[in-house]
């Protein structure tokens, strides 16, 4: 199948850590389009660290990460982040001074994606993730956690990337909302042929995905 992302023997330790205190050691994962993955691990096992390597926020690691056979170390990571991958964080990371629609449009602006009517697109994206258009003009801080996370997902979809990375996207949400969000991700993978990677410690999430990779502490 279509290997869109390959983690090839990656090891990583923080700059201020001791010499052989690796957070990640010899990680080898492959990811394909049209599938939903879970990276499972306890708190402190290095899930967020791994995700930050994949999303190109950190590049001083050993080994290689390939996006479509191209090493991230040789790519312009800003463009990679604003066009090729969508990132969803546990804490949503929306801009508080903007409303829901503006947050989504900002991502389209940054990626320079060609969209005729950005407002219309933003509202249709919001509807796709289960938000009514009446919330479009509300400041994000006045939305509930679940609503904020949906805005964050809509934002990550706004420039139509092939990979969606999510760091404990349901960590702050109740179980029903978790399932709703999970269904959106499943649909994105199976219907829209995206590669969805969810980092989680929740067994409920692990049970519903196609492939689970387990990240052990200090392996």
């Amino acid at each position: 199948m279509d290997k869109v992302l390959r983690i090839d023997n990656v090891s990583y330790r923080y700059k201020d850590a001791k010499k052989d205190e690796y957070v990640l050691k010899n990680i080898k994962y492959d990811f394909e389009k049209g599938k939903i993955y879970a990276i499972k691990g306890k708190s402190g096992s290095g899930k967020t660290t791994l995700l930050s390597l994949i999303s190109g926020l950190e590049k001083r690691y050993e080994g290689n990460i390939y996006y479509k056979d191209k090493s991230l170390k040789k790519m312009d990571l800003d463009t990679y982040r604003n066009s090729n991958i969508g990132i969803v964080f546990q804490s949503y990371n929306l801009l508080p001074h903007l409303n829901a629609m503006e947050n989504i449009i900002l991502s389209m602006d940054i990626s320079k994606v060609k969209v005729k009517d950005k407002k219309k697109k933003a509202i249709s994206l919001m509807e796709d993730v289960g938000l009514t258009s009446s919330l479009a003009k509300r400041r994000v801080l006045k939305l509930s956690g679940g609503e904020q996370q949906r805005v964050a997902i809509a934002r990550s979809l706004s420039y139509n990337p092939e990979i969606i990375l999510a760091d404990e996207p349901t960590g702050n949400l109740d179980k029903d909302t978790e399932n709703d969000i999970l269904n959106i991700f499943k649909r994105l993978a199976h219907d829209d042929n995206k590669c969805v990677i969810i980092v989680t410690h929740s067994t409920n999430v692990c049970n519903q995905v196609d492939i689970v990779y387990e990240l052990k502490k200090n392996n």
Partner: protein
């Protein structure tokens, strides 16, 4: 484009923060605007004063050096006087040669000649004055020159030694006057001018015509006399006076009085006197004086008093060296009014210095405040930077957006602050300039009146000297000051904002979005 949109949205949605930045900058820029205006006004005052009062250089005999050199040679008093008489005064040709210099903007000279006059009482209280004065001087003199004993001021012996003491403590004018006396005795001094524009005393308003006028014919036998002389002798405009050559009393000349003037400067008389210094001056034209000189077979020499107007303070010394090379006698010294000019503008120069210091301090405070604001701003907006960077916005664009925001806020604040400052400073500036404006506004009319003319139309050459252009400039000054000041302030403000934005740029480029976002969760 979206960056500009972003910046504007961000400003609008963070009113509190931007208002705070704005107010701080308004206060600083307001202070700067006032300071700039004061500085500017002070500059105007100084340059207006400098234009009105040019640097004048004149030459006169340096009696001290003369006496010292004679004394060294151990000469008798008689020999000394002879030697003194031998020293040649600069001739008209030499003066013209001196004036023909790169350092000289313009120059003019007057002829003065001591004369007697028929049936004319001298305006003098010198009998009283000089006895009191000579007393001390006689004592000194006796010690220095035991042979000389002459209390009578007109006598040739005393004039040599007495003047020694006097010149020690007097200004240029004094030297000149003594210089004049060398030529000849005579109760009155005829002063001959070449043209209106040479008559600086009238232009400056030191002398003003109270009756009649100064004749515009510089070839006529006409004169103006002082109010004091007129009163003392019951003279009126239209009367005739007869002056007598001091060397040959057969040579007499008639002068028609066309005007009567009064001297306005009270300060110039260093000793208390009933009469002003100019009381016995009969003001006429050069040609008339030359006529007397040429009719005299005894080689009567008039004093030529030149005034050279130099461009700058530095030129005084250069000009001095130049004319010494051109052959000015070593017994002559070159004096200027620079000290007087500098004293007159001293207080305003101090204001300027203070304003400069204050401005620099305000700007430093402004710069520091801006940098601090920027740093606080960046700390506060770390999260925002992290988010923007994770969704793929380039460092340079984030920096640009932040700079744009700050610049917009600063521009508005600068506009308001400098507007308030300018409005306030108009008053301050006008206060500072009050006298100057009043003086100059009256000037054109006054100059005419000084000469006793109602419709005074100076010719083109003269216009330059009457500083007509200068008057207009002062009238428009408020506008000029404000625009220039605003422009300067704006430039400075923008530069400071840009510099302080550097701090935020460096901070943004060093931020790792990862750590920022981790700190948050």
């Amino acid at each position: 484009m979206y960056i500009i949109k972003n910046a504007l949205t961000s400003i609008r949605r963070n009113k509190g923060r931007n208002l705070l930045i704005g107010i701080i900058i308004i206060v600083i820029s307001c202070a700067c605007a006032i300071t700039l205006a004061i500085r500017e006004s002070a500059n105007k005052v100084v340059s207006a004063y400098e234009q009105k009062n040019p640097i004048e250089v004149t030459i006169g005999m340096n009696r001290r050096s003369l006496m010292e050199s004679l004394k060294q040679d151990d000469k008798s008093q008689e020999e000394m006087i002879n030697a003194f008489n031998e020293i040649k005064e600069p001739t008209e040709e030499e003066i013209i040669n001196y004036g023909n210099s790169n350092y000289v903007k313009e120059y003019y000279y007057t002829y003065s000649l001591g004369v007697d006059a028929k049936d004319l009482t001298e305006a003098t209280d010198s009998l009283v004055k000089e006895t009191t004065e000579v007393k001390t001087e006689v004592d000194t003199k006796r010690r220095t020159f035991p042979g000389g004993d002459s209390k009578f001021p007109g006598g040739p012996t005393s004039s040599g030694s007495e003047e020694t003491t006097t010149s020690r403590r007097t200004t240029t004018k004094k030297t000149e006057k003594i210089f004049n006396e060398k030529a000849s005795g005579g109760a009155f001094t005829l002063i001959g001018y070449n043209s209106y524009e040479d008559m600086k005393d009238f232009i400056n308003g030191n002398y003003t015509i109270t009756e009649g006028e100064v004749s515009s014919d510089f070839n006529s036998n006409s004169c103006v006399i002082s109010e004091e002389l007129a009163q003392l002798n019951n003279l009126e405009v239209g009367n005739t006076i007869t002056v007598i050559d001091t060397n040959n009393d057969k040579n007499t000349y008639e002068l028609i009085i066309t005007g009567i003037y009064k001297e306005n400067t009270e300060s110039s008389s260093s000793m208390s006197s009933m009469f002003s210094n100019s009381a016995n001056n009969i003001i006429t034209n050069i040609n008339f004086v030359k006529q007397i000189v040429s009719n005299n077979s005894d080689n009567l020499t008039p004093s030529i008093t030149p005034t050279f107007i130099v461009n700058s303070k530095d030129d005084i010394e250069k000009f001095t060296n130049e004319i010494k090379e051109k052959g000015l006698s070593e017994y002559y010294e070159v004096t200027s009014n620079i000290e007087e000019l500098e004293n007159a503008t001293k207080s305003i120069t101090n204001v300027k210095t203070f304003a400069n210091t204050f401005l620099i301090i305000s700007l430093i405070i402004g710069a520091v405040v801006l940098i601090v604001i920027n740093m606080i701003n960046i700390r506060e907006r770390k999260y925002e930077i992290g988010v923007l960077r994770t969704i793929g916005m380039k460092k340079s664009k984030v920096s640009f957006q932040f700079m744009l925001e700050l610049l917009t806020v600063c521009m508005f604040a600068l506009l308001i602050g400098s507007g308030i400052g300018a409005a306030t400073s108009v008053n301050v500036a006008n206060k500072l300039l009050e006298n100057e404006i009043a003086n100059t506004n009256n000037e054109v009319g006054d100059i005419g009146k000084n000469f006793g003319k109602d419709n005074f139309m100076p010719d083109m050459d003269a216009k330059k000297n009457f500083k007509v252009a200068n008057v207009n400039q002062i009238n428009d000054m408020n506008a000029i000051v404000d625009f220039k000041v605003l422009g300067q302030l704006f430039g400075i403000g923008i530069i400071l904002t840009l510099i302080s934005s550097l701090a935020s740029m460096i901070a943004i480029s060093r931020f790792s979005p990862l750590t920022i976002l981790k700190e948050r969760s």
